[in-house]
């Protein structure tokens, strides 16, 4: 453990912690825009500058390792002046249309600018102008809002392992881009959305956010798509999902998702979604199964009808019994689903081999 002082507050942090980690542990706020606990330190935004006794200049707390007996000051006129100048510079090339912005009230830049307290724009000059890249079906890239914090680049590289994007060009022309500067959709992007998740501004945002305001409720849940069991947070408004993000607190995925978990949620509130068990009418009302496709198309006995879980399960159990008796266990095969939990799949395995008595069991992921 390392013992140090942040603004004269004693704090103890584990080896490998940064000064910023220590400040957080001591409950001292330091503004940050390019830091993310899940990503390697980068030192780009220069917001998190501090003074450290015995160190020259204004080191960035996010990248400086905490060391024994360090004495850190997070608040001084020198820090304030330099941070304000940097923030003014950042805003001198950022569209100031906060009220119309999809990130309004959830934007880190807005918050830190508020913390710094900018009141005027002394450095007027050229601003970047880019077309929005809407090529990806799920998210939009609006480089005019980008502050080049590099979080998206690091997330794509360090968390998703995809390296679809990087810094390109130099000086004022620097921007985040794909190889050969192609539209996102022509890159190697897998649409996992992690970059969107970490972006501190509206330089990356979900298309779904364009139609909605702020989410009013959030619900922790588990992703229904596969057995990994990633934690999700459903962002809802008036009971309807308007966005999904990975749950950082969940140790399974630490906020990560695949494209399905993050963007494949529209079915949840789709009108075609089946919410109750359905059975063929002949199974409920008697009669015999149609013999061919042609016959079934017109036959009302072949229609789906809603029923209760009890009824549906009873019909299934009876049918399995009958088939087993008439044709033997090996005439039954069982398919399970990647959407089930591991435990559920295990149970199906037991059910197939011990209850039904067949080895014919398989899983959709093998198809």
């Amino acid at each position: 453990m390392i013992n140090l002082k942040i603004d004269n507050k004693k704090v103890e942090v584990p080896e490998g912690s940064t000064v910023l980690d220590a400040a957080r542990a001591a409950n001292v706020y330091i503004p940050t825009l390019c830091d993310d606990p899940l990503l390697e330190p980068f030192g780009a935004c220069r917001m998190c500058i501090v003074e450290i006794k015995g160190h020259r200049g204004l080191p960035t707390s996010c990248s400086t390792p905490a060391t024994e007996e360090m004495e850190v000051t997070t608040f001084s006129p020198n820090i304030e002046v330099n941070r304000r100048t940097t923030m003014n510079l950042m805003l001198s090339d950022h569209p100031l249309d906060c009220q119309h912005c999809v990130a309004n009230m959830k934007c880190d830049l807005q918050y830190v600018a508020g913390y710094v307290g900018v009141r005027e724009q002394p450095y007027e000059g050229e601003t970047r102008s880019y077309e929005k890249d809407r090529s990806n079906p799920f998210y939009v890239r609006d480089l005019e809002k980008c502050i080049l914090c590099g979080k998206c680049v690091r997330a794509c590289d360090e968390l998703q392992g995809r390296q679809a994007i990087s810094f390109g060009y130099r000086g004022f022309e620097s921007k985040i881009t794909t190889p050969f500067d192609l539209p996102m959709w022509d890159s190697t992007c897998e649409s996992c959305g992690r970059c969107v998740d970490v972006c501190p501004t509206a330089a990356l945002y979900d298309k779904s956010a364009e139609k909605n305001g702020l989410a009013m409720e959030e619900t922790r849940t588990t992703c229904p798509y596969c057995g990994v069991g990633c934690g999700l947070i459903l962002e809802t408004r008036n009971g309807k999902i308007i966005g999904v993000r990975g749950d950082r607190e969940n140790s399974v995925n630490e906020g990560h998702t695949c494209v399905k978990g993050r963007y494949g949620w529209e079915y949840v509130q789709h009108e075609d979604r089946v919410k109750k068990p359905l059975v063929r009418r002949y199974l409920l009302e008697g009669g015999s199964k149609p013999k061919s496709k042609e016959e079934s198309d017109e036959n009302p006995l072949w229609d789906w009808v809603e029923t209760s879980w009890e009824e549906a399960l009873n019909i299934t159990a009876e049918s399995l019994h009958r088939i087993k008796e008439e044709n033997g266990s090996d005439s039954i095969g069982i398919m399970t689903s990647a959407k089930c939990l591991n435990e559920e799949n295990y149970l199906m395995n037991k059910f197939a081999r011990q209850v039904v008595g067949t080895n014919s069991i398989d899983h959709c992921a093998r198809l």
């Binding site: 330190p41 980068f42 030192g43 780009a44 935004c45 220069r46 500058i49 200049g57 204004l58 080191p59 960035t60 990248s63 400086t64 390792p65 020198n78 002046v81 330099n82 941070r83 100048t85 940097t86 510079l89 950042m90 001198s92 090339d93 002394p122 450095y123 000059g125 050229e126 502050i147 080049l148 590099g150 990087s166 810094f167 060009y169 130099r170 000086g171 004022f172 022309e173 620097s174 921007k175």
Partner: protein, 628 residues
């Protein structure tokens, strides 16, 4: 007999008593037509069986303004140098010497070396060479860089031999520390201190990672990205083995087994010669496994740079070698803690490494005789701009700017006056005439607001506008900013916009305050040295030439007569002869006037292209009423 003695004997024998015809074929020599001279030499030799000599091409000796150079070395006679030679001169000189025993020639420049020769001055009498102290450039222009025997015969690899055979690694570090050698790449960090930190870290790294492929790296920074700088290029082209020897000694000292030379891709000749030198050193067992029969093994790889100024910054350079985009990372961790592929690494400049063999061969004490208390040794500079003699120079640290500019540089040409000297390249500062007696050493330059840098030295005369100079340097740093951090990416952009505005006559008096607010903040808040030093030209010109900023803004006047938006062209009533040349030459027909009568410029039409002033034979065209 030790392995080195045998190699040395071989080299001495190979180089002994040779008649040599030497042609300067550094990049400067080639640019001046050195290859034509080489052709002329070969032709003359082919036509005259009586002339028997080895034809040798060498790197830059420094006196670039006298290239192409042709030198003759005959056993028993001093080495004679002829400058600005043409193919015809070459034939004449060779035939005179070898067929008629006549050495004088109108292009005779100097006797190089300690001997004298009747009728030709010693190089020590030539003002350009006299105050110089050639240590880094000891071999440049003297040896054939493509022949390892020539390097060895001039004490090459003696330092390596002494280090490997007689000294422990710790003793080598101590020797470097005692010499007080400071890094020549910019920051002036003591080389020995860097090595000793790295050596400790390599020791720990080895214990923790006993199975690692590499325990430490030595990187030679040969990126030399400052515009106008060519000190490192000259050493690489003229004396590549000195860098290889320096790296190998460094590797032994810190316990590294691999070295990388990160060389600017725009230096094809340097790269070619380095490759050759590495192969030759390996062949002679001066590199590779069990060097000189000792336990120590060391390999060097060459990596071509990615063409960005910022890749000279050490963490960006490491990223670039690793195949990533050259973008600086915050330090700590320093490369000496976790460098190339997270392994402890030292990065030293070409010139730093070039000094190492001398320190080891001659001893720290002898090496440290030159220089000042805190800035030991010598330093090379690329002397350019408005001085009579431009070229590559090497001086003892502690020499005054005045001596460099007026003695070596020969003063300001065209009878103009000195205005400012920019040291340290685009990130350095502009020093005014009142600082001419400043001594050139790390502390004095830093105190004056500039830096030693890697050795750029640009001299400006009174026709230079200091606001425009600041603007020029900011254009460079802005376009080379890697874009990562806000103060540098946007701060240099905004400063550049303000400076441009001032030079275009659109400046406001508040702009000076904005610059004064931005510059220190960019310096203090940027991540790497590029951003931290980018404001230097602005800070120093504001400090020493503030009235020039004010003249642009308040009086709408550019005192140097350079800023087009702020100057007017007129024709002098007395001097104009009415020759009509200006009127004919003006591309926009702004000049009117009858033959033999005073001509007049319509300032509304004039685009200030300067054509009229250049064509006028009577100095009658004035800028803001002055003859420039």
């Amino acid at each position: 007999m030790s392995n080195y003695t045998a190699i040395r004997e071989w080299a001495d024998e190979k180089t002994a008593d040779k008649t040599r015809i030497v042609v300067g074929l550094g990049t400067c020599g080639i640019a001046a037509g050195g290859n034509k001279i080489l052709d002329a030499v070969e032709k003359t030799l082919a036509n005259n069986d009586a002339i028997k000599a080895d034809v040798v091409s060498v790197g830059c000796i420094g006196i670039c303004y006298k290239e192409p150079l042709l030198d003759i070395e005959i056993p028993g006679k001093p080495r004679l140098s002829y400058g600005s030679v043409t193919a015809r001169d070459t034939k004449e000189i060779l035939e005179n010497i070898f067929l008629n025993n006549k050495y004088e020639h109108k292009k005779a420049l100097a006797v190089i070396g300690d001997e004298t020769f009747e009728g030709i001055p010693s190089w020590k009498e030539i003002p350009f060479f006299a105050p110089q102290e050639r240590r880094v450039l000891r071999n440049c222009g003297f040896i054939d860089p493509e022949k390892i025997e020539e390097y060895i015969a001039n004490d090459g690899y003696a330092g390596l031999s002494r280090a490997l055979v007689e000294m422990t690694p710790a003793e080598v570090i101590d020797e470097t520390l005692d010499a007080g050698l400071r890094g020549r790449g910019g920051a002036g960090f003591p080389a020995g201190r860097k090595w000793s930190i790295a050596a400790d870290n390599i020791h720990t790294y080895k214990e923790k990672n006993p199975n690692s492929d590499a325990f430490g790296y030595v990187i030679c920074n040969a990126d030399e990205g400052d515009p106008g700088a060519f000190m490192n290029r000259s050493v690489l082209e003229g004396d590549p083995h000195s860098v290889i020897e320096g790296m190998t000694i460094a590797g032994y000292a810190i316990g590294a087994t691999y070295g990388y030379i990160y060389c600017r891709a725009e230096y094809p000749l340097a790269i070619e010669r380095l490759k050759l030198a590495i192969d030759q050193a390996r062949e002679k067992n001066l590199l590779g496994k069990n060097i000189l029969g000792t336990e120590f093994s060391f390999e060097i790889k060459l990596k071509e740079g990615a063409g960005a100024f910022v890749c000279g910054e050490e963490t960006a350079l490491i990223a670039s070698i690793e195949g990533l985009r050259g973008m600086p990372m915050p330090r700590p961790p320093y490369p000496a803690q976790a460098g190339l592929w997270e392994v402890p690494t030292i990065i030293n400049n070409v010139e730093t490494l070039n000094n190492i063999p001398v320190i080891l061969a001659k001893g720290a004490e002898v090496w440290a005789e030159k220089g000042t208390e805190k800035s030991k040794g010598t330093k090379t500079f690329a002397l350019t701009g408005k001085v009579e003699n431009t070229g590559l120079i090497e001086v003892e640290l502690g020499m005054s700017l005045r001596e460099v500019i007026y003695d070596i540089g020969g003063g300001i040409p065209d009878g103009k006056e000195f205005k400012a000297a920019q040291t340290g390249g685009p990130s350095g500062g502009c020093l005014p005439a009142s600082m001419l007696d400043l001594t050139i050493d790390y502390e004095a330059l830093a105190k004056a607001g500039s830096i030693m840098g890697s050795g750029g030295l640009v001299i400006m005369d009174t026709s230079t506008c200091m606001v425009d100079v600041a603007r020029y340097f900011l254009t460079f740093t802005q376009s080379e900013s890697c874009g990562k951090c806000v103060p540098c990416r946007l701060g240099t952009k905004r400063m550049l916009e303000i400076l441009t505005r001032i030079t275009e006559g659109k400046g406001k008096i508040e702009d000076i305050a904005l610059l004064e607010e931005l510059a220190p903040s960019i310096r203090d808040s940027s991540l790497c040295g590029l951003g931290q030093s980018a404001p230097n030209p602005v800070l120093t010109t504001l400090k020493y030439f503030r009235e020039e900023y004010e003249a642009h803004i308040l009086d709408g006047h550019c005192p140097a007569g350079q800023c087009k938006a702020l100057i007017t062209y007129t024709i002098d009533e007395v001097d104009c002869t009415g020759c009509t040349l200006c009127a004919i030459s003006c591309p926009v027909d702004a000049i009117s006037g009858a033959k033999k009568e005073l001509h007049i410029i319509d300032t509304d039409i004039c685009t200030r292209c300067d054509t009229c002033r250049q064509v006028c034979n009577f100095d009658a065209v004035l800028i803001d009423g002055n003859l420039l």
